[in-house]
Point group: D2
Chain length 389, copies 4
């Protein structure tokens, strides 16, 4: 995209609402920056908290007009639909258990949904949501944000082009340490809901970050997971959801994989790492150094491809804002999902087909993610037996 | 700042104009993203190019109102001053030779100036501009953006707190490779003006990136450069400005240093690296991995301090948007300069004193930078003789 | 040991024989350098090949006396035992299937055995060998050489001292790429025997390098593996042994682990990497950068411990030859096994007890390794069912 | 050399003597391991200390025959020359001030000299020694050991082959921290003599490690230094020799360089690093990760060449003992100098010409090194004026 989306015209900004993301929320603020970074969205309405007073205060701090700060997403969906300049899209950034009901309200009114992951707290909700999305004219974008990194796109493009040959191995891990101790008992909100089955669903680490790892692996490789064997643990006493997941994977076509998700591994901040190997070469990418992609053609020296550098191809270039050596990070990667969403939404607004190079995670990816969580939980309960997906 | 500037109220956005930064410009687009990222500025006017047609088209692509797209910065300064909701601040992102005249127009009308570096093309201009800024009520912010990185702030705070003891050594380098060949003869605009003495001033690499290195070194250490010896080269035949600079430095108090700036070192993308050593410890920071700061207390193991991590202090935390392991990059660092500017500008707007923890490079830093350039050029012409600053 | 083993006297060198390791063998040459490095062994006899002409030529090239170059290890064991200055120890460096019979000949004559890993080609051989070793007065040293690296000793010492708290997770991998293509069909001797069940036993990658990974993990952590689930593959068509192994592990006390061994992952040279996490901290070590050990106490910054550096404890120091920053490598680590063996053998020669700080892998470690291989193979045949060890 | 020097025959080991290197010496022990590693030398005599009792004890600990342990190098040279199996070569590992006189005794008797660096304590001694060496039939090998690293040979070969084009820039540094405090006043022998002008000569850090950096730079690039400007400091109060050196360099043909040598930079263990840039590409090598060489052809992605890996050429291969990923270190690099010496000495013994691919630092390199030291000291005394070499 070069440093700014090059465009032929300057369309009016996309009017965006938000469900969740009130004061002190983490991911809501990330979505807002992502929406703002390229100047293509404008946040104009919000149902920012299920606590009305908190919703109001949050709306005020964000500078929203008072009459567009809502106490509930139902109210917001209904009223915004009737406004002449009501929202065109909504970002849903609540805990997982709210995703389904919130998304339904907007989808059925034709308002595009940008939803945080995992898709829902249960697989049945996920499937119902997918059915709704299919019937709706509105778009559904799932923010598996790591797919927005340019060098992740580069890896995907190289694999699709056959540069790794036939794929054999996928090693993916997403490792953190912030739940090494029972943080959820100290009043930390992020820890509370993410370890609470009622709000998160059946998966702990495997749901929160394991789905990111799984999504990244399949996004990059294009492989289909056919069965898995999972050994989940809750190492912290009294924790109700897993905080560590060891998963063996088998893919259609014979490739094999391992996935490790952990929130109890001291010294790891946000260690999402993907390695893929085929008959002709291997690649390695790590989220904490997102501007770099290692590539080794078998029998040749290892090369370091950099975002914006000599070896970056078209898929990476269209996601790139700054030149090589001017690092992009998490927010830029996240913003790329919003940039893709904007291109699709504007196409819809203008009655054009969505440009063929636009790529974003969809409701189908969301269903796959929740199916992955449930399969892991099921396998683990049966002593890591193989479970078919 | 946590993920979003926490604030007690939601003040109206700062109305921003821009001089330069038309279609295809690099640094203008960076300034716009930086201004947008925290939602505290709104770009409402521009004199985006000295070519009127280009200015118009650029304004249209940015969605500016037609009557606030100007053919010249003089016209913009004059008219905006008269508007009820005219711009409160202007970003000047032209080649260096225009900085002085543009800044003058806004400063004298009390409009805050956010200006790209180096300050001016000549030292006399720099000094005149400093005098103007001193007399003006308006603020002057120089975008030595690398001072906005959280771990640069961390390094500065640690040194001020004495964690390195008495400083002895400063090794700084800023190394690129994009001018290894005569790119300026291929029509590349960035290369053209940056190698043209009329537009860049007396310094080539030493001005474009050497000043960043020098600024970073003094910002972090608090040291004052007293003399230098510089050996400049133009390795590419026919190039009119230096493309490589080797500089020895002597600081007040006895510390010594080396500075290397190059644009002809293949394999280096944007390699700004600072190392500082004192009687009690050493630090190392590299722009291409900006979320990390190495610190070794003498006689103890090396530690890796990370942005958002356990060892990050107050100065870094207030510049931090995302948690540890969620990398921030160049644009976030740049946006931090805008965030600091916003805090100062809003304080002025509201008649409050500027909060004491607000830090940004000033016109004085700009004068020091241009003095550094001229001293390097002078020393080099005299066979690298020592030149006093 | 400082740069040379500090010692009170200069005992006569240990007279060493070798079985296997003829011309062009890889590991035999490594053993010879390891034996030579500290000047405590002297190679005086050899049954270097099962092909007499090759044995003779190899002996000549190594400068052995003609009458101490043997056609078979049986002949060597018998005759050397009778010599007044016959060998005191023998290094067995043949393919795995010969280990048992060769070791038996020397053990039963009281000649110390230094044997390459894995211990034997079958578990029954391993157990018989262990029984023989137990009855023998001779020592049995298994060259799981990676346990000789100083920073591996450091990790082990830290864990034993409780610096990681209660252990939860062990992630270990040993990854190579040299068998990505069917190298065994090109006449490459190393590839031939390592993929031949008759010479290697039931394990391919899992035997050749998986046992190293398993041994390293248990050596460092002190944990006991209780059960495993393994998914082995032969990705290269026609290959008779596995070239990739994915293993889930459960340890006594509740720790869990993953082990990945592969010889078909392009871009990996000799990637043995161990990560261990407990309630109080985590460590990370990688064989390709053996002088470094990462240690993160939970809630504190990551530290980089270096061989010879400020944080290195007693266990590492006694294995250290050169100062910090003067890298030691594979051969020094290997030589450390020989250095430990020498200390034990000299103690026996002189009728002293073996010093309590001498540590080397034993026949029991060898049995555990072969049991690991067989459990992996068994599990994999049963669709990765859990197998108890 | 593959894992062991491949050879057609097994010549008798080269009989080696040693001057210096008694108990507790550092570099003497390194030389002994280096000599032993490939099994081509046998230490048979020594004048290990100028203190007779210490010389005797050291000889006993090394297992030397009593009648070949000498009280002085003069006695050793004279008597060994008369023995039928007297030494063929001598390793001189004393402080610098003894090198000249010791070397003279052996050279004039036709005994090959392997001498530690820097060559001598004064330039006049260096020149006299060079004259002696030229007249002598004996070989003179200077152990600038870093030239023995395979990837240093690789870099040299690539530059000679033109892969970097015309050279423009040489950045070299050798940085340590062990003299950050006045260690020489605590009784530490290594610190004492290395900071004592009487034993070290005119250079402190610049002599001890700056010469290594200078030698490495010229060895790899083939460039000739024509002039330099040096700013030396003794940061530790009372220290009589420099502990930090900043040097600008100009080479014949127009290339420029910077050299930094320091022993007071906390966090640096043995940081010898070389970067070279030309019109067509750049390379980077760091002694603490010696098995890796970064190479970037201009306009292409960076590649990582590894010792033993796909990109390693003939010059690196002949210095390589273990396969890729099995790290070699400082001792192997040092041993490579001995391996080259052995090939030359054996050629002389057998009356053959020295094979053309044998490369080692010579007395001429030694003279250049001492000239470099003296030029730095001279320049620094004249306020870093340019000094011609």
């Amino acid at each position: 995209m070069a440093i700014e989306a090059s465009r032929e015209s300057a369309p009016a900004r996309i009017r965006l609402g938000m469900v969740g993301g009130g004061k002190d929320a983490f991911i809501g603020a990330v979505h807002r920056i992502a929406a703002r970074l390229d100047g293509e969205f404008e946040l104009v309405a919000g149902a920012l908290s299920s606590t009305p007073a908190r919703a109001r205060e949050s709306g005020r701090l964000l500078g929203l007009a008072e009459d567009r700060v809502y106490d509930s997403f139902r109210e917001m969906a209904a009223r915004e639909k009737r406004l002449r300049n009501g929202i065109e899209a909504v970002a849903i950034v609540t805990p997982n258990d709210v995703h389904y009901e919130a998304a339904r309200e907007f989808l059925k009114r034709g308002i595009h949904v940008i939803c945080d992951k995992p898709l829902t707290a249960t697989l049945s909700d996920a499937r119902r949501l997918a059915a709704l999305a299919e019937k709706s004219d509105a778009l559904f974008i799932l923010t598996h944000n790591y797919t927005g990194y340019p060098m992740v796109r580069q890896a995907r493009e190289m694999i699709a082009a056959g540069e790794l040959g036939d794929l054999r191995l996928v090693q993916v891990e997403y490792v953190q340490d912030w739940l090494t101790e029972p943080l959820e008992r100290t009043g930390a909100k992020q820890a509370e809901w993410r370890t609470d089955p009622a709000r998160s669903g059946a998966g702990g680490a495997v749901g929160d970050i394991g789905t990111h790892a799984f999504n990244l692996a399949t996004f990059v490789t294009g492989l289909t997971l056919t069965s898995l064997s999972a050994d989940l643990d809750s190492f912290v006493e009294g924790r109700r959801l897993d905080d560590n997941a060891h998963v063996l994977m088998r893919f259609a076509g014979g490739a094999k994989g391992m996935l490790w998700a952990s929130q109890v591994a001291p010294g790891n901040e946000n260690g999402l790492k993907l390695r893929v190997y085929g008959t002709r070469g291997g690649i390695e990418w790590c989220q904490e150094e997102p501007n770099r992609l290692w590539f080794t053609p078998f029998g040749k020296p290892k090369t370091l491809l950099t975002r914006g550098g000599a070896g970056a191809g078209a898929a990476a270039q269209r996601m790139t804002r700054t030149p090589a050596g001017h690092p992009e990070g998490y927010l830029e990667g996240f913003a790329n999902i919003y940039a893709e969403a904007a291109r699709a939404i504007l196409a819809r607004r203008e009655g054009r087909p969505i440009p063929p190079d636009v790529v974003y995670p969809t409701v189908a990816d969301g269903v796959a993610g929740v199916a992955f969580i449930e399969a892991c939980v099921r396998s683990s309960k049966r002593n890591a037996a193989w479970v078919t997906l």
